[in-house]
């Protein structure tokens, strides 16, 4: 007993000394998103029995030299409306321990990881849309040679508050050819290979059913100071499951990016084709549950009320297309730049189905989506800046949302003006209009925001669907920020529709009420 006391005393002394000498580092964050709902027949808001939704996350990490340990506690009291699950409790969900040395690291417990662009495997978290695909197991990184990095993973995937009923294992190797020689060349060439395998017990009658599904990915990255190119090809063995309607064929994907960046000019060309690439930890999973790989829609991610109404959702079952991005900076004092400079960007993306599902490179006639948009940012004086945006969209609602209605074609203009009338005081105004003859018809929006840096902001916005539904989606809100802590409060209507973050979407239902957000970071 005495020995134990001594040991405990010794440890406590240590902890005390750690705090005293500032050795070891403790950090964490807390996030709470709470909505109070009320009845609103005009927009068809469905009020849950409890009239409240609250998602809460507490994360704590402690780092001491090469050791890091952490945990994450989540509480859904209950989950907000439209979340992919309806938990009404809290749980300590993630726990991990990591050791990092120069050429070696090991993490046991819950971890996130990504191979290549994630087309074959990605474990990640996105709290806004309710995704947490962390694996519980082990993740080892080794760099045995200066030009070789190997990652090995093993684990079971998190499924809300439980774990998927399957095992996932994977291996990823990357060779950096620019480090194989004695001198470092200007252009970096790297090749990677990944292997991912999932096993889920099958007890059905089919004798040759693939209980184990393997996917392999090969990639090549060439990066220079001016031009870069990357290529990735993924092959996934046959994997009949619910989400692909028990398609018995194999899956394939090819992705390439070519970019150019020189002087004041930048350009990017992306091409991607997919066939039967839905990959889940469990055969029974649907929607955004149990995703093993990452298939974002490769389109521009917009941030305005009207440019976010028709948003593409990548079709993992099959699509072909790409996008072009052009960026230009007209510096101060040049013709188009004027006295204070000006910035231009152009983006065009287009996706359609394959003509022949056997041929990965066959462009089909059935267009799913396109988005042509142009943005011009101009600073007129020290105090006044404007952004002008034009967008043209084609949206195949049957393919994207499964609703058999005519294709939607829209034209949108946005004007965003910022007046910085004092050193730390500014007013911002947005005027927007989306014109379409299809679906719900035209939308107009206006927003005004006043900010008093660095702490306070207030805003008032209205999104108005006129002609057919004549519905206002007005919101009033504000926020207070002090260093790493932010508190926001708003009241208003939320439009039903696709809510997308990071290229993955979920449907949010119409809702009216008060939303309170609290986030804090301590380091």
């Amino acid at each position: 007993m005495k020995k134990i006391q001594l040991l405990v005393f010794g440890l406590l002394t240590n902890v005390f000394i750690i705090a005293q000498t500032d050795n070891g580092h403790f950090s964490g964050s807390f996030e709470s998103y709470t909505q109070f709902y009320h009845k609103d027949d005009k927009i068809g808001a469905v009020v849950p029995q409890d009239k409240i939704g609250s998602n809460n996350f507490l994360k704590l990490d402690y780092n001491y030299k090469q050791f890091t340990a952490g945990l994450q506690f989540e509480a859904y009291l209950p989950a907000i409306q439209g979340f992919p699950f309806s938990e009404n409790s809290g749980k300590l969900v993630n726990k991990y321990f990591r050791y990092t040395a120069n050429n070696f690291s090991i993490q046991v417990g819950d971890f996130y990881e990504q191979f290549g662009s994630g087309l074959a495997f990605r474990a990640w978290e996105n709290r806004q849309i309710g995704i947490n695909n962390a694996l519980e197991g082990a993740n080892i990184h080794v760099a045995p040679l200066s030009f070789l990095t190997i990652k090995a993973i093993y684990g079971r995937q998190r499924k809300v508050f439980a774990y998927a009923n399957s095992n996932v294992r994977g291996l990823d190797a990357e060779i950096d050819f620019s480090k194989t020689g004695k001198t470092t060349p200007e252009t970096r060439v790297a090749a990677g290979f990944s292997y991912v395998s999932r096993y889920q017990l099958y007890t059905g009658p089919i004798t040759d059913f693939p209980a184990t599904v393997n996917a392999t990915s090969t990639r090549l990255d060439i990066g220079g100071a001016v031009a870069s190119a990357s290529f990735e090809y993924v092959y996934k063995k046959r994997d009949p499951h619910d989400a692909n309607n028990f398609d018995n064929t194999s899956g394939k994907a090819f992705l390439t990016n070519l970019s150019l960046a020189t002087g004041n000019f930048g350009a990017l060309l992306t091409f991607r084709t997919l066939e039967n690439m839905d990959f889940r930890s469990e055969r029974e999973s649907l929607q955004s549950i149990g995703l093993m790989n990452y298939i974002p829609s490769l389109t521009k991610q917009h941030d305005y009320l009207t440019t976010n109404i028709y948003v593409y959702n990548a079709q993992a079952m099959g699509e072909i297309g790409g996008q072009v991005d052009l960026f230009y900076n007209a510096p101060k004092g040049t013709g188009p730049g004027g006295k204070f400079g000006s910035k231009f960007s152009l983006n065009f993306s287009s996706y359609s189905g394959h003509n022949d599902s056997e041929d990965l490179f066959s462009f089909g006639d059935n267009e799913y989506f396109h988005d042509l948009n142009f943005e011009w940012k101009k600073k007129w004086s020290e105090k006044f800046t404007t952004i002008f945006l034009y967008q043209n969209i084609f949206y195949n609602k049957l393919v994207i949302e499964g609703e058999p209605v005519p294709d939607v074609k829209t034209n949108t203009v946005v004007l965003n003006a910022l007046i910085k009338y004092a050193k730390k005081k500014a007013a911002r105004f947005e005027l927007q209009h989306l014109a379409t003859r299809q679906d719900k018809g035209n939308w107009a929006a206006a927003l005004t925001e006043f900010s008093f840096a660095p702490k306070w902001t207030f805003y008032l916005s209205d999104l108005y669907n006129y002609g057919k539904t004549d519905t206002h989606y007005a919101t009033i809100g504000g926020s207070y920020t002090n260093r790493g802590t932010r508190f926001g409060l708003s009241y208003g209507r939320q439009r039903a529709g696709l809510f997308c973050v990071g290229g993955v979407c979920r449907f949010v239902p119409a809702a009216t009420g008060v939303t309170a957000t609290l986030t804090t970071t301590f380091n």
């Binding site: 580092h25 996130y112 990017l268 991610q301 790493g484």
Partner: protein, 159 residues
């Protein structure tokens, strides 16, 4: 047993006498694809501003534009360096390099493709800026509204 305990205690105390900085040991990628360890920036004496941003985040871009406009002028007053770490994931990470060219930003840009740094620094949302002095986080701010850059420059002078 007593000996063992003593050894453990001594060992634990001994391991603590090494100094360290508060920055997490996370690997980032430069725009040419090279790996850089985030904690290696802690060894430097220059004041460091670290901004976590994304190409799809309008306030992040406003903040970096505002800092960029005053960058050279402010650097004459007090030496500092800004690292802009993009948390764009593989949906948009390829846009970062051409995007930055089209903005003409003078910052060092790094990529945090699967949000490892964002998680290690316990950041909820972008933009989020840190001021780092000799490996310690001495100031941070979440979110951006016009004028926040003034606050940031004022802080730099006092730290």
């Amino acid at each position: 047993m007593k000996k063992t305990t003593l050894i453990i205690v001594t060992f634990l105390i001994a391991t603590m006498s090494f100094g360290q900085n508060d920055l997490p040991d996370i690997k980032l990628r430069s725009l040419t694809g090279d790996e850089v360890r985030f904690n290696s920036f802690g060894n430097n004496d220059t004041l460091l501003i670290v901004s976590l941003w994304a190409t799809w985040c309008v306030p992040c871009i406003q903040e970096l534009e505002a800092i960029s406009e005053q960058y050279e002028e402010r650097q004459k007053e007090i030496p500092f360096k800004l690292l802009a770490v993009s948390i764009d994931d593989s949906r948009t990470t390829q846009r970062v390099k051409p995007f930055v060219k089209g903005k003409g930003w003078p910052f060092e840009i790094y990529l945090d493709v699967n949000s490892d740094l964002k998680r290690a620094l316990n950041i909820n949302d972008v933009p989020h800026v840190f001021i780092i002095k000799k490996g310690k986080i001495v100031y941070q701010h979440n979110g951006y509204v016009a004028g926040n850059e003034e606050e940031l420059f004022e802080k730099i002078k006092t730290l």
